[in-house]
Each structure stands twice: as C-alpha cells, then as structure tokens.
C-alpha cells in the first residue's frame, strides 16, 4: 500500500537554529512529491514539487531535496514566522487518475 511517513511529528527550534524535516514514501511509482505549509485554521499552501531523485528546490529559507526513498525539507536560520505544519504528499502511477497521498505532517515551532 502506498504510504507517506513524516518525521518528527513535532519540532521545536530556536530562531536561527537550522534543521531538517523528513518525508519517507513507499509508492508503486512516484510521479511527483509535494511540500505544503499549513497554518492553523487555514488550508495547505503549496511550497514545492519535486519529480526525480537528485532534484532540489529552494525558496527563501527552505530547501527541498529528493532521493528514491525520501525527501527532506531543510530550514536554514528559521524565523518565528516559519512556524507551521509542513505536509508532504505524493502522486503515484497507480491508476489512471492518480491520487495526492498526504503524510501526517510535522508541526514546526520556532521560538524567538
């Protein structure tokens, strides 16, 4: 069964303390891996799409990387406004329609 597992469930950082979030996946065939940010009481907000192993994408303090089994979201010198839940999702080759399969997210708290 296709599965997405994120770790840790929660992460508390001091402002400026860099770290990484992990997303490991088991799918029949990866079409794409997505990272979303979700603030409390809001819908997920798109960050990145990665398609193949070795690919990297950056946006401000965030950098997403992809291997054949997992993706990392690296956060460099985070600020309090980076506090949110970060969701990882994959689309697989299974079926003609595909499906966006989400992990349970990592709740990031950045303290000033």
């Amino acid at each position: 069964e296709d599965q997405v597992t994120q770790s840790p469930e929660a992460l508390r950082l001091q402002e400026g303390e860099s770290s990484s979030l992990n997303c490991s996946y088991t799918v029949s065939g990866l079409r794409g891996l997505f990272w979303y940010r979700q603030d409390p009481g809001k819908g997920p907000e798109f960050l990145f799409t990665l398609y193949s192993a070795g690919e990297e994408k950056e946006k401000e303090r965030l950098k997403a990387t992809l291997t054949k089994k997992e993706s990392f979201l690296h956060i460099t010198a985070p600020k309090p406004e980076d506090s949110a839940t970060y969701l990882c999702a994959v689309v697989n080759y299974g079926g003609s329609q595909g499906n966006l399969i989400f992990g349970k997210g990592t709740k990031l708290s950045v303290k000033p």
Partner: protein, 115 residues
C-alpha cells in the same frame, strides 16, 4: 480575489441533519477535489471532479454526495450527519488531473462539528 473559497467557514449541527458545503474557484481550473482532515490532522482525498465529471471516489459513505454544477463549483452535501463526520473539509482545485502533478490549491476549510 480569493482563488478557492468555501462557505461556510464553521458549521455546527445536530446528528441526523443534512448539510451542504459550497466551494468555488476562480482560477479557471478543470479539476476540483474534496478532502477531509480529521482530528489527527490527517488529510485524505474524498472526491475528485474533472470538467463536472466524477473521477475519484474514495471509500466514502454514500451519505456524502458531491455535486458540480459547473467547472468552477463543487459542492458537498452530507445526509444524516454522524458524530464521526466532525472534521475540517477542504476543497481544492488544479488545472489537470491529480495524476498530472499539477499543483493543487486549497480553500480555507470548513470546520464541521456534529453534536
């Protein structure tokens, strides 16, 4: 100029009632979705519509019936509400099908509480 909007934001109702949630997107997308996010924050697909046609129908009780009057709207009607239906429901849209890996844009969510 909200891209994906949902109404209402909050919905509190009694068990056994019937309720609807509305969703509209102004992005010109062809595909719309309904997701359910449970108390553990796990987000799961319920339905997908492409050009008003049902594409994905995950294992969802038939008390849930989506309706798409046009490409820009996808409403969710729920009959005989149960306690376990309490969750946040998100609408989303994308240009192509999910399998195309087009980015999905989410609405702000509707928090449904069944008493």
């Amino acid at each position: 100029d909200t891209a994906v909007s949902q109404t209402p934001k909050y919905l509190v109702t009694q068990m056994g009632n019937d309720k609807s949630i509305k969703c509209e997107q102004n992005l010109g997308h062809d595909t719309m979705y309904w997701y359910k996010q449970d108390s553990k924050k796990f987000l799961k697909i319920m339905f997908s519509y492409n050009n008003k046609e049902l594409i994905i129908n995950e294992t969802v009780p038939n008390r849930f019936s989506p309706k798409s009057p046009d490409k820009a709207h996808l409403n969710l009607h729920i009959n005989s509400l149960e306690l376990g239906d309490s969750a946040v429901y998100f609408c989303a849209s994308s240009q192509g099908l999910a399998v195309s890996t087009d980015t999905q844009y989410f609405g702000p969510g509707t928090r449904l509480t069944v008493l």
